[in-house]
Symmetry: C2
């Protein structure tokens, strides 16, 4: 649909990933070096060698408090037979000496002071005694003792720091010593980020969901990645569906930046504009790379600027950015890849793959109890934004690989050098008390996939723990870490205008209902109540279910049905008393259910799981103010 423009250069074959890297490397993102104030130089990279322009110290300097002497005058002196010298004055740090030390004399001197003429050593104050103008020296010193000679630290002309040195506090210190208040550093490539989707709205602006608008995820994500890689990101305003404006912005960005990035638009017209600008003002080097995701990747040049088009799904955009673009930005900025940019681990599960092109597989990390890192695949191309925080990085899977075996050693290219595996990783029911509990853990990851799916994943051995609500259908070998109870029922509008009293009303009357999905423990408990009603009435459960308008209208999170009710889209929704209280709706109680936290037996010894167990054991604070909750 997006490849049929008549003016477009033809790219019959997908480029190899190596060809894509070479194309980007050929674009030359490297900006001119610049000079920055020393106070802003941390993290920058020296553009040239720095030789010392002066001696440090610039003078012979006393390195002890004591007396400046001629060493020869102290030869032979000791405790039993001290030398006696005449005191001729004192010299302080930061002051030019106005005296000279002639044979037989000495001068009081402070650490850091200039050695007066004639003196060639300092006697520590502890080995002397002074009485009026007479000083007894009870030790002998050699020339140079307790003196740092001019240039002894750094000599003028000496090589101090080499080109390519990354400036950390200690290098800032050396530059300070040399008196440098400006430092020649590698430039940071300026990277323009252009947002092209008609439906995209910048965060902070009003969102019109009815028009299909969504917030622009990629611009800020990619900009943050640019800054992290050592570039300077520049966000251009969103052009919406005004193609003239889009062209104008693209040209402006190419004039102002070393590299322009845009992320895949769903609109063929937007892609047309980008194509046209590149063709008219630059050169398209490649279109399409044999990699999943990222097949539609564009690489080219617009005027003096490089251009790379990224895919549209957030995880795909970040993946392609991480793999192909960030290394080029780092190279241009002169920054080495951070040591924490990759980690190694073993596949937690088997992952099949046989598509004949390189795959960049988004992956999550979890540590086992022995601190081995396990790697598991996430996001099967769903385009979900939540996958962004579920995935820690990318595993590169070669085109000839059919599968990754469970236990196979893989390298994960982290999305950020700051990414760390979660301290504890859980999956299962979503619950407001659980949210509070998670807040008290150091660095948890929790996937609210529902009780049933949580148990399935626990059984498969990936998460550390699962959280279930109600009766769990699945038998799983797990260690119970504790739990609580919650009151559940029907969330109805405030004051219950329809006078709903229970499930029978949903069956018998014409009411719009919103359910939770089949993985949710709430749905299981609702099913049980419906089954009881069917038994009471002597009918099939299925019959009652079919009479409830919306039983199959299921939504994902525990607040979602209540929010539908609040929005007037439904008369009743499955939910919690705590949610009804929070949102100020009415509530028809149907029962209490247990929420249990259940750990993978192999992970109980893991510090994060031990911490979780401890927090589950001290629930009073967590549950405070949550309506319908109780400790068990």
């Amino acid at each position: 649909m997006s490849d049929d423009g008549p003016e477009r250069k033809e790219f019959r074959d997908l480029a190899t990933p190596d060809a894509a890297r070479e194309a980007i490397a050929s674009l030359d993102l490297e900006p001119e070096p610049e000079r920055v104030p020393l106070a802003e130089a941390r993290g920058r990279v020296l553009a040239e060698r720095i030789d010392a322009a002066l001696d440090v110290p610039g003078f012979d300097r006393a390195s002890m408090d004591g007396y400046a002497v001629r060493a020869r005058d102290t030869f032979g002196a000791d405790e039993a037979d001290p030398a006696t010298l005449e005191l001729v004055g004192e010299v302080h740090a930061g002051v030019e000496p106005e005296l000279a030390v002639e044979p037989g004399t000495c001068a009081e001197i402070s650490t850091g002071a200039v050695m007066p003429d004639g003196a060639d050593a300092v006697v520590m104050v502890e080995r002397t005694s002074q009485s009026g103008d007479v000083v007894e020296i009870r030790t002998s010193v050699a020339p140079g003792d307790h003196v740092m000679f001019a240039g002894a630290d750094i000599a003028a002309g000496a090589r101090a720091l080499g080109p390519g040195t990354e400036l950390t506090p200690r290098e800032i210190g050396l530059l300070s010593a040399l008196g440098a208040d400006e430092v020649p550093v590698r430039g940071r490539p300026t990277v323009g980020v252009i947002s092209t989707g008609d439906e995209l709205v910048r965060p902070g602006e009003d969102l019109h969901s009815e028009r299909g608008q969504i917030y622009d995820v990629n611009s800020y994500t990619v900009a943050a990645g640019v800054e992290e890689a050592g570039g300077e990101a520049r966000l251009y305003p969103h052009a919406g569906d005004d193609y003239d404006e889009m062209e104008r912005l693209l040209v402006e960005a190419s004039e102002e930046c070393d590299l322009v990035l845009s992320s895949g638009s769903t609109s063929a017209s937007a892609v047309d504009v980008i194509y046209r600008v590149i063709e008219e003002r630059g050169d398209l080097l490649l279109h399409g790379v044999a990699v999943k995701p990222g097949k539609p990747m564009l690489v080219g040049r617009v005027g003096e600027s490089a251009y790379v088009g990224l895919p549209g799904y957030p995880v795909s955009a970040l993946t392609i950015f991480r793999t192909f673009v960030a290394p080029a930005i780092r190279e241009a900025a002169g920054k080495p890849e951070p040591r924490t940019a990759t980690v190694e681990g073993n596949m937690a599960v088997r992952e099949r793959y046989a598509e004949g092109r390189m795959r960049l597989m988004p992956a999550g990390l979890v540590d086992d109890a022995e601190r081995n890192t396990l790697v598991y695949p996430v996001d099967k191309g769903s385009g979900a934004t939540t996958s962004l925080v579920e995935a820690d990085g990318v595993v590169v899977v070669g085109p000839d690989t059919d599968y990754l075996a469970e236990g196979e050693r893989v390298e994960v290219q982290l999305f950020s050098p700051e990414v760390r595996p979660p301290s504890a990783f859980g999956a299962g029911e979503d619950d407001p008390a659980l949210s509070r509990l998670l807040d008290r853990l150091e660095r948890p990851r929790y996937l609210p996939v529902g009780s049933r799916e949580g148990l399935r994943r626990l059984r498969d051995g990936v998460p550390d723990f699962a959280v279930t609500a109600g009766s769990a259908a699945r038998e799983v070998d797990a260690v119970d870490l504790g739990g609580w109870t919650r009151e559940w029922g029907l969330v109805v509008p405030a004051d219950d205008p329809e006078g709903i009293e229970g499930v029978a009303d949903l069956v018998d009357r014409d009411l719009r209902f919103v359910n939770r999905d089949a993985n949710s423990g709430l749905r299981t408990s609702l099913g049980e109540v419906v089954a009881d009603l069917a038994a009471e009435r002597g009918v099939e459960r299925r019959e009652l279910v079919e009479s409830i308008d919306g039983f199959d209208r299921s939504v994902r999170a525990h607040e979602s049905p209540a929010r539908r009710v609040l929005a007037g889209d439904a008369d009743a929704g499955l939910g919690l008393r705590a949610t009804a209280e929070k949102l100020g709706t009415g509530f028809v109680p149907l029962g209490e259910q247990e929420v249990r936290v259940r750990a993978n037996p192999d992970r109980v010894g893991k510090p994060g799981v031990a911490e979780l167990r401890e927090r589950v054991g001290e629930l009073d604070d967590v549950l405070e103010g949550l309506a319908g909750y109780g400790a068990t």
Copy 2:
């Protein structure tokens, strides 16, 4: 000398390091949380949990280009028996649908567009064919196929990110999806840095060495450390020796900052001012810690602000900052210790220590050929600024440890998480061609300690290579990587006003000479020329040496004697033709000497050493324009 003020609180015993940590922890540096724009949130730490305030997507969204249908209308359709639907219009991304899909109809739809009323699935365009208003559907789809339902990605009310989460690009992405353009983050503690020495001058200002002034190293170093730890550094102007001004600045800083740091002044009066301000306006918690260095460390409170006084030597200041202060700043900012903050390695040499108090031993790192990290001690309290870049971090040695054995496993707390071991580590002669050669290596470390000392260190097994000039006295098992020749002699003023023609003039006439130190290969070659002259004259070498005024006046770097000559402080200095050309002085040639690069045989396989060997093999570029140099 600095403990006798009558108004001072008495601290008879040094505090333990743990007590010092507790005292600093008790000071509460944590600032209020703040809200920052999303574009500036990278690297910050969430102050509170973020729950989704909206569904993402906010509408049922097509996730493929194709046709929006009622799934029921496609049941049973396949290639052989397609379903036929009437096309009622199209829906684009970012536009509100103005149509409904009734039974038997369909609508063209783009990825990202709002599903029109009635439709519950999307058929991929590839499985359809359109002819006028009639669309053939050649596959059957289930309700929900290729549709992302409202809230399926993130549901309103769901827990999105927890408090304490460090914001990397992916979290920025999730916050974007939620429309957040401002983020509640932990505050960064404001840390004031005060400079107190009378003799200190800020980099960039004029330096009066004759008054004993030196550039202030610690202020910028500590400020960079503060920023790296997640604080915001504020440098206060230097008060010089105006104690009223110093008091005013200290009070001002304590009012503006969460923490005030000063580094040890050599002036007792400055310490007095700090004492008085703390006693009058705050509380002194401890003075003196049983740790080397850092014994004189001060911890207290001035008004609402915390105060820590650091030692004066740059390496000591950075060491105490790294060990005691940076962790407190990170804690206040909510930042975890970076994973690269420490490395483990084996001691390359035995190090004795028996002082009965904890020692923070500055240490350097070097990798062996098998990429094992070796650790060696540097800076024995010399106060040298160059030690800053020689040391990579600190090894904490317990008070009861008498020595660290060669090969013993130790942990090094790096001075910065960005610090990496050098790619190649050498020691020996200083030489301008070598400086250029080093510029071409990735991340070299080179200590210009002279040929003799370089060989000694090579023999002791710490550096990867040594560089020697002239004849090497020492027998060392080494692999020669190549070398070059350089012309050496006497550097004299331009046009040689004294008419110096050789060493005989230095012996026979009243000329002031500046020599290099005994480790320098230049000095060794000069010694040989003097010995030849002595043999020629039939006298003792010692006799000639004593006739040269300044033979023992030795300076550290290859340019230093020439600079003395240039400054008019000497009539001749030992040096290179290349130096004379560079500085525009005269030159009296005395000979040529070989410079050899010699590697530790065990390290020849190390990549950095292999790189060095390669560069030494391609010398033409390096030597270009260097007078008196030749390849060998």
